[in-house]
């Protein structure tokens, strides 16, 4: 069984973090989350990290792997060489709580403000006649609220008031399928210097998204919609 070398960012707020190397034996079919969990179980019980579902559904295990935002649970070890080092650091642009753990509540509170429909129509069956007794099929939104896009976004680094890619994408989803929601409020939320206009199209959100959300395109659609609304108001409301 191959031995993998992991370099984990360790430490607690108040002291400067350090990188520590661990060696862990696991088959190449295992995932990074298995390696980190095994280090916690067998080598260092003080290691802090977030995880829950282990299949990219809960969004808890986002970290930076060799600098890039990934979910540990769907990062296979076979991507790496046992001779190399896998460096794991916490997400950026979140308050750091220690080791690989960050506080995601600022993002969650922003998402809660949007209050978007968490359930969406299932595209597989949206246009298919369903047998009697089967209701319209629904499924969860693509966004798992993992925060990878916030960590990857360079604008988040400079503007802490920026709504961020996940939130803007959520607003766009809500506008696309409002189900009686208050669209005017959402447009106001997005039409803000720290909202849709703050994005500088670095495209890293879409590049790191593990769940097909494509926030960059969503922000583009949101802007188009805001422009149309403004034009309509400008033409219609002209005195």
């Amino acid at each position: 069984m191959p031995t993998w070398q992991l370099r984990l960012l360790r430490g607690r707020p108040g002291s400067s973090p350090r990188l520590e190397t661990y060696r862990v034996e696991l088959p190449a079919e295992a995932y990074l989350i298995d390696a980190v969990e095994k280090i916690w179980a067998e080598q260092d019980r003080s290691l802090l990290f977030r995880h829950a579902c282990h299949h990219a559904s809960c969004g808890a295990c986002g970290v930076r792997v060799n600098g890039r935002e990934r979910l540990m649970c769907i990062t296979p070890l076979r991507e790496f060489s046992p001779d190399g080092v896998i460096q794991v650091e916490p997400l950026r642009h979140f308050p750091w709580l220690g080791d690989l753990l960050v506080d995601v509540s600022p993002m969650m509170r922003r998402m809660a403000e949007v209050g978007f429909a968490i359930i969406r129509r299932d595209e597989l069956t949206a246009d298919r006649p369903l047998p009697e007794g089967i209701e319209q099929i629904t499924r969860f939104e693509d966004c798992i609220e993992c925060g990878l896009c916030l960590s990857a976004c360079p604008v988040m680094a400079a503007d802490e008031a920026y709504l961020g890619p996940a939130t803007l994408a959520a607003i766009e989803r809500m506008l696309a399928e409002p189900r009686g929601g208050d669209t005017a409020r959402l447009l106001t939320l997005a039409d803000d210097p720290h909202g849709a206009w703050r994005c500088h199209s670095a495209m890293e959100c879409t590049a790191v998204c593990p769940s097909n959300v494509d926030p960059a395109s969503a922000i583009g659609r949101l802007r188009r919609r805001l422009i149309v609304e403004k034009l309509r108001r400008w033409i219609g409301g002209g005195r």
Partner: protein, 385 residues
């Protein structure tokens, strides 16, 4: 009344217990050594059971499932994908179970109905075209992390305190009565005592270890299972094999993935479960029989976790033979007062488990407060943060 209850574990059981306690007016502190749902609850198969899976072998558990399924649809719509389930017969042997299955579902109160094969294939175009029969049941899919967060968010709203990354290291006794727990804050390393009138052990497959800390025995049998998530959602409905529960006989869809599970073997230490390679091969082989080309979208994740099955004290049995129902142990019978363990069960039945546990807590304190968790809708999981 201001009794204080300490709940150990923030998985589905602990979260539901905290919610029930808070709703009945208790002061509640939940201690969890990791993240919410970082144990068995998080790594769940995500199946909101209709009960169909247990109707033939374990009707008690099946009845609990359908009842709770209907309650959860009312109280936590945010954490559910309501997409129904199909039981499909892949061969003649499966087909021979059909009548028995329909009768068992009827017996347990599970709305099940056979749909023509052609219709099933129209609904599920990727399903093996050679299926012999299909029965539709009200299965569903939940989001395990949000499931637990919803209960905890509501509990917090009602005054509960949730301490994550806080590990129980010991129990505090007064004579033979548990009066609190000693916990370590894993972020600071500091230890402190949290006093409680009652301590509820809701640590799932770890509840045996926790109980041992208090010097009592809980016959929990950590029974692991493997699940494999792939890069494509092949099915909209949950696809079950129409047979007795076995390995690799259920594919649960969620978002854009599908998850085949499970296997079953007994483990000693649920902290880290190495994944047996032959289980992966077996699951993929079985998945192929339901949905030819199952892995064509690539394998996305492979994970294993231990179920907290309840054995009979002194009786050796494990895996598929053990009931999926739950047990609440008042350790007064073991000579330890102030300590209750709630374990076993399914995530689908978490609310019912909590009701039972809190009924026991109330009885121990001589209180009569009715349970209201059937009616009260839960807050959004985001309210937890």
């Amino acid at each position: 009344m201001s009794y204080h209850v300490v709940v150990i574990g923030a998985g589905s059981t602990g979260a539901a217990v905290a919610h029930d306690l808070a709703l009945r007016g208790f002061r509640v502190t939940v201690v969890e050594r990791g993240e919410v749902a970082s144990g068995t609850s998080g790594r769940n198969h995500c199946l909101l059971h209709s009960g169909g899976r247990y109707a033939m072998r374990d009707p008690e558990s099946a009845r609990e499932c359908i009842e709770e399924n209907m309650i959860l649809r009312r109280i936590m719509p945010e954490a559910l994908e309501l997409n129904d389930g199909l039981f499909v017969a892949l061969d003649e042997q499966d087909l021979s179970f059909k009548e028995r299955f329909l009768a068992a579902c009827e017996e347990c109160g599970i709305p099940a109905r056979e749909i023509p094969v052609k219709q099933a294939l129209a609904l599920e175009p990727h399903l093996n075209p050679h299926i012999l029969a299909a029965v539709q049941v009200p299965d569903g899919v939940f989001e395990p992390f949000r499931f637990c967060l919803s209960f905890l968010a509501t509990a917090k709203h009602n005054g509960a305190t949730v301490l994550t990354y806080t590990e129980v290291v010991d129990f505090v006794f007064q004579g033979r009565t548990v009066v609190g727990v000693r916990v370590r804050d894993r972020r600071t390393g500091e230890e402190r005592v949290i006093g409680g009138d009652i301590v509820v052990n809701a640590a799932g497959p770890w509840s045996g270890k926790i109980a041992a800390m208090a010097g009592v025995d809980v016959p929990v049998v950590p029974t692991a299972g493997v699940m494999i998530s792939v890069g494509r959602r092949w099915n909209r409905m949950v696809i079950n094999r129409l047979n007795m529960p076995g390995d690799g006989d259920i594919i649960v869809p969620q978002r854009r993935t599908a998850i085949i599970g499970t296997t079953s073997w007994r483990v000693e230490d649920p902290d880290f479960i190495p994944i047996p390679e032959d289980h992966v091969r077996l699951l993929l082989d079985r998945a192929e029989r339901f949905i030819p080309g199952y892995t064509r979208g690539g394998i996305r994740g492979v994970f294993a976790v231990a179920r907290p099955l309840v054995g009979r004290r002194g009786v050796a049995a494990d895996g598929r033979e053990l009931s999926r129902t739950f047990e609440c142990f008042d350790h007064a019978v073991d000579g330890v007062e102030g300590f209750v363990t709630i374990t076993g069960g399914k995530m689908t039945t978490a609310r019912a488990m909590a009701e039972k546990a809190v009924d026991v807590v109330c009885a121990k304190l001589g209180l009569e407060i009715p349970c209201r968790t059937r009616e009260v809708p839960l807050l959004s999981y985001r309210a937890f943060f």
